[in-house]
Each structure stands twice: as structure tokens, then as C-alpha cells.
Symmetry: C2
Subunit: 345 residues, 2 copies
């Protein structure tokens, strides 16, 4: 299996190193063999090659079986002619990463960390499926002309159908419920969205579908987070709602994500940013990166047992009270990593 | 003073009646005289005149000194050729209601109602200033053609400057801090927005300005709501973020809003919908409508003392433990209203 890693910036390299060590420990002596190729991306791409998404990196990704991304960005690249974030958008487009998938689950033992009251939040277990290469991110025309600015939100039926099928299939493996989020009382795109989602729903009679306006969804994520199973939405709404949902578990350091392509390798990454304020101090929680690796093992390689073993080892370490700072503990990134490796051995 | 009322649908007429009775009790024997003209709007407009925003209503609003709106919408009008919600959008455009202003404040005595933990939420006191007649709501082209859909987000410098000045002026009467929310890493509109806000900021050296991406803002509203003073944002982001913020106090029944025009009367309304499920049962909390009336007294008529008196009477009634159902009490809309009137007398 060819895994390309893009450690990126800030805490990215630290948590990537941790997750790769754990992967190595977990696979030692098993049939699962892999090779890792590290490539520059983001700010690291600008520093090494003058571009956040260098040509060598583009080429490497196109022959990969799976991609792991740490985190990108930082103040030193805010004025770059092409920013790390623009590099990320280019990568999504080039690889056709049309579905961004974010599970938001809350371990009972960590409920106390949530900013929401425990009785509201206990049992939260949802997956957000966000369309990632359409909508107002990529629609044309998009330009500034003197004192005026234009952005275009664009979808066609095929784009909506593809992401909707993905969400319904995820729902079939879960509680069988899809909440499709739109703004059909204002947007032409949302009316096409709703119509198409309803058509796709016909093919999944075992899945229940409900439609919610984005403003109502933003409320319900806080008032009734346990009501959601799969949330299906377009690019911009997904950006906002998935970040809103990500703070429910109390630490961004716990949440992985996958971005799926129809033709190319999938990409796995933590949902958080590069946290330049704590970079290089071994303070970061590597869980989000470790769980990105277990998502990869399951989704790209079908290695359920291996993924379970790693996740159980992490749970066992946390059950012993070994937590990084974001979870109220004192373990360094390395302490936590070594503890997980000992469990695996 | 000519006040035009649009009771609208669902619980709209009930809470409007309550607020007007209280206004009458509070102004009896004072210099403040006014006349009330009630006009059909929303579903009530469709039922009475075949259109949510009938011509008579349009004419009446253009000679009003202030407008009070109850709430609109309901399942029976979902398939109307022009929906109540479209009528609302037409009204915003016709009257040039460019600024939507929503205070979100949390009384210490009601902190326990919040879905957020008390230590996070205590002291929350922000105002959201949302641009209301631009952006992707009104930009052209906006259309559906076969299997494709297009919406246009559009702003020009003048539109941004006007709403920014409004927000900075609100901040000057408060803690002097503006958080401008955009998505400048993706949208041409947001880059123009940020540049214009920074220019306007030069004229308000006593106000501190900070920029936040909309996804980060959606997180921070939950993790650090007390950090916000004035939030300034465009139409769609304002729709989502103001609804997200509105659930922080625990009941939508407490929150008023104002929509401001440069040329016409301002409009005051609760932030919640018409709640058809509880309509006609005297279960609704009239506070959001009463506070809409006090916002009107302050902002349209400069009647600070009168507004204070009404708000103090409401506080006193709640301090006695008289609460409507949404706040955990048993008082009906009428019970609560009569109790406030007794306090005022
Ligand atoms: C960096 C930015 C362009 C990106 C987005 O808006 O998609 C980020 O917020 C994300 O969600 O991955
Ligand atoms: C009804 C709808 C068009 C409206 C909006 O999106 O502006 C509503 O959600 C609001 O916020 O007043």
C-alpha cells in the first residue's frame, strides 16, 4: 500500500510522526505492509518549492493508494502569492475530492469536556457529509472589479446526486437517517438540491430523509445534537456546520475526517488547523491524526481489525487517565504516543 | 406616532396583542401618543388579499413611523405561488431595510436555561449586525435552468460601507469592539468586505476591529460567547450565525430584533417564527414582542424612560417566578401580560 504523507505546518509534523509510529507498532508482524512517501505541502511547500502544492507533490498524490495530511497554514504565509489554503482548494479540485466526511462522536467519559450541558450532548453520534468541490467555492464567475465583487454558487444535478448517494450509503451503515441541509427558501441551488436529494432518496427506501434550512440546522446542532445521524449538505454550509459541530465534543484534537474521490486516493486529516501557538512543544493531541489513520485503514484498505486494535489501545490509555493538555491532562504528544505503543505491544 | 402592526401568522397575533396592551398601559397618562394601524402580511396577507405583501400594506408601511411585525409562515402556505417568506424578502427590499440588529443578552437569572454550561455563557451580551438586502439573497443572476442552478453573491463598496458604519456606531455605544465575519480565504465578496471594513474602521479609532472566518465564528459562538461585543456580517452568514446565537439564552421567546432603513420606517420583530404547533393556545412567550416594542421606543422614538419602565416591569414579573412555559413556568400569554400591566399601573 502506497501512503503519501503531507505533514504540513505547525503541529502537523508532530502529530503525523505520532500517528505513523503507532501505525508501525500496530502493523509489526502482521500481513499489512505499506510504504510511506513524505511530500511537501502547504506552508512547507511554499518554503521548499515556492508553491503550497508543488508539482512533485501533485504527481505523488496521483499514484498514491491513500493520503494522510497533518495540518496547514500559519501567519508567515498569509501574504504568499498562493496561500497554503489555496493549495488545499487546488488539491481538492485536482483529486476530485467531492465528499468530505466528518464523524462527530462523544465518548461518555469525555462528556464533561463539552461546552454543552451533559444531558443535551450525551450520546451525540453523527456524521457530516459535505460536498467539497462545488458550490460557491468553485463556481464561475468569481471576481472583483473595482468596487464590486461577484461569487457564483453553482451545482448541477450530477454533482448533487453523487454526494447524496454517498450520504445515503453512509446512513445505511448507521441509524438510517439523513438530514439534508439547504436554504431552499432563498437559493435556486437549494431548490435543485432538495429536488435531487428527494429523487435519490427513492433508491434508498430504508433511509429516512428530512430537510432542514441551514439556519435551523445551526440552532439544532446546539439544542438537539443527539437527533442527527447523517447530515448531508453543500460546500459552504458544510464548512460552517461541520466546524460548529466540531466544538461539541470539547476538543478539536479528537476529530478526524476523510475526503473521498471517485477516481483518486482518499485523503485523511484532522479537522483542526495547524495551531502555530503550540507547535514544536509536544503539546498537541495526536488523537485526531491517529483516528485519521484508522479511518484510512477502514475505508481505503478494509483493515477493520487493525483499526479496532489501534482505537482500543488509545481508549485504554485514556481510561488510565493519560490525557494531553487539551483534554485536561499533562501528557505530552510523545508520552501519549509511547503509552499507546506500549498497549499495542 | 404612526405605528403599523403586521401581526401575521401562528402565534404572531397573540404576542402582538399582548405587547400592544402593555404599550397602552405604559403610555396611559404620558405625553407619548400614537395610533396603531393593523395590516395583513404573510400568510394572513395571502388569505385576505391573495398576496403575502398586499399593495395596501405596502402603501401603509411607506407612511409609517415604525413597524411592528409578529411572525409569519406556516405549513398551509408552503405551496403558495408567492410564499410568506418571499413576501418578507420583498418587504426588506422595498423598504431598504439594510441592517438587521439582534441583541443576544443573557439575564443571570435565566442562565440555567442555556444549552451551554453556565460558566461558558454567563455574561453573554452581544449584538449581531447583519446586512439584510445584499449578498446571495438578492444578487443577479439567480436561476435554475434544467439540471443546473446559479445564485450570485454580490456586494459593492457602498453597501458594505453603510452596514459597517452602522455596526461601528453600535459598538461606540457598547464595549467598543467589532468582530467582522467573512470567508476571505474563498470569496471575492469577502475580500472586498474586509478591505472596506478596514477602511471604515479608520473613522472609528475608538473601536477595535477583528476579522474572523465564518467557520471560526460558528465555533467561537459556542466556545467563547462572552468574547463578542458587536458581530458585523453579510446577509447569509448573518442568517446562520444569528440563529445559532439565538439559542444561547435557552429560549427564542426572549429575543427581539430591529431592521433599519436609511429612508423608511424601521421594523421591529421577534427573532423566532410563527410556531404553528402552539398557536391559539395562549402558550407563547410575549417577551420577544414586548422587547421589540421597547427597541422601537428607544430607536425610533427616543423614549428611553418609557422603554426602561416596561422592561423593569417585565423583569419584576419574572423575578416573582411568573414564567411562560418555554422558561419552565406555567403562566399563559395572558397571565404574563396581565401581571406586567399590574406592575405598570
Ligand atoms: C481553508 C479553507 C479554504 C477550508 C474550507 O473552507 O473548506 C477549511 O475551512 C476547511 O473546512 O477545510
Ligand atoms: C424566511 C427567511 C427568508 C429569512 C432569511 O433567511 O432571511 C429568515 O430566516 C430570517 O432570518 O429572517
Amino acid at each position: 500500500h502506497k501512503i503519501v504523507t503531507l505533514p504540513g505546518d505547525g503541529i502537523g509534523p508532530e502529530i503525523m510522526a505520532s500517528a505513523l509510529e503507532i501505525l508501525q507498532a500496530a502493523t509489526a508482524g502482521t500481513d499489512f505492509t505499506y510504504e510511506v512517501t513524505e511530500m511537501p505541502f502547504g506552508g512547507a511547500g511554499i518554503d521548499a518549492k515556492g508553491h503550497p502544492f508543488p508539482e512533485e507533490t501533485q504527481a505523488a498524490l496521483q499514484t498514491a493508494d491513500a493520503i494522510l495530511l497533518g495540518a496547514i497554514g500559519g501567519p508567515q504565509w498569509h501574504d504568499a502569492s498562493v496561500t497554503p489554503e489555496q493549495g488545499l482548494l487546488q488539491m481538492r479540485a485536482l483529486l476530485g475530492l467531492y465528499a468530505n466526511v466528518r464523524p462527530v462522536r462523544l465518548a461518555d467519559s469525555l462528556v464533561h469536556l463539552s461546552p454543552l450541558k451533559e444531558e443535551r450532548v450525551k450520546g451525540t453520534d453523527m456524521v457530516i457529509v459535505r460536498e467539497l468541490i462545488g458550490g460557491i467555492y468553485f463556481g464561475k464567475p468569481k471576481y472583483r472589479e473595482g468596487d464590486e465583487a461577484f461569487d457564483t454558487m453553482y451545482y448541477n444535478r450530477g454533482m448533487i446526486e453523487r454526494i447524496a448517494r454517498y450520504a445515503f450509503e453512509v446512513a445505511q451503515t448507521r441509524r438510517g437517517h439523513v438530514t439534508s441541509v439547504d436554504k431552499a427558501n432563498v437559493l435556486a441551488n437549494s431548490r435543485l438540491w432538495r429536488e435531487t436529494v428527494n429523487e435519490v432518496a427513492q433508491d434508498y427506501p430504508d433511509v429516512q430523509v428530512e430537510h432542514l434550512y441551514v439556519d435551523a440546522a445551526a440552532m439544532k446542532l446546539i439544542t438537539k445534537p443527539t437527533d442527527f445521524d447523517v447530515i448531508l449538505t453543500e460546500n459552504l454550509f458544510g464548512d460552517i456546520l461541520s466546524d460548529e459541530a466540531s466544538v461539541i465534543p470539547g476538543s478539536l484534537g479528537l476529530l478526524p475526517s476523510a475526503s473521498i474521490s471517485a477516481e483518486q486516493a482518499a485523503l485523511y486529516e484532522p479537522i483542526h488547523g495547524s495551531a502555530p501557538d503550540i507547535a514544536g512543544q509536544a503539546l498537541a493531541n495526536p488523537m485526531s491524526m491517529i483516528l485519521s489513520v484508522t479511518m484510512m485503514l477502514r475505508q481505503s484498505f478494509g483493515e477493520e481489525v487493525l483499526a479496532d486494535r489501534i482505537e482500543e489501545a488509545c481508549q485504554a490509555v485514556m481510561a488510565e487517565g493519560i490525557f494531553t493538555k487539551d483534554l485536561g491532562g499533562q501528557a505530552s504528544t510523545t508520552d501519549f504516543t509511547q503509552a499507546v505503543i506500549r498497549k499495542l505491544q
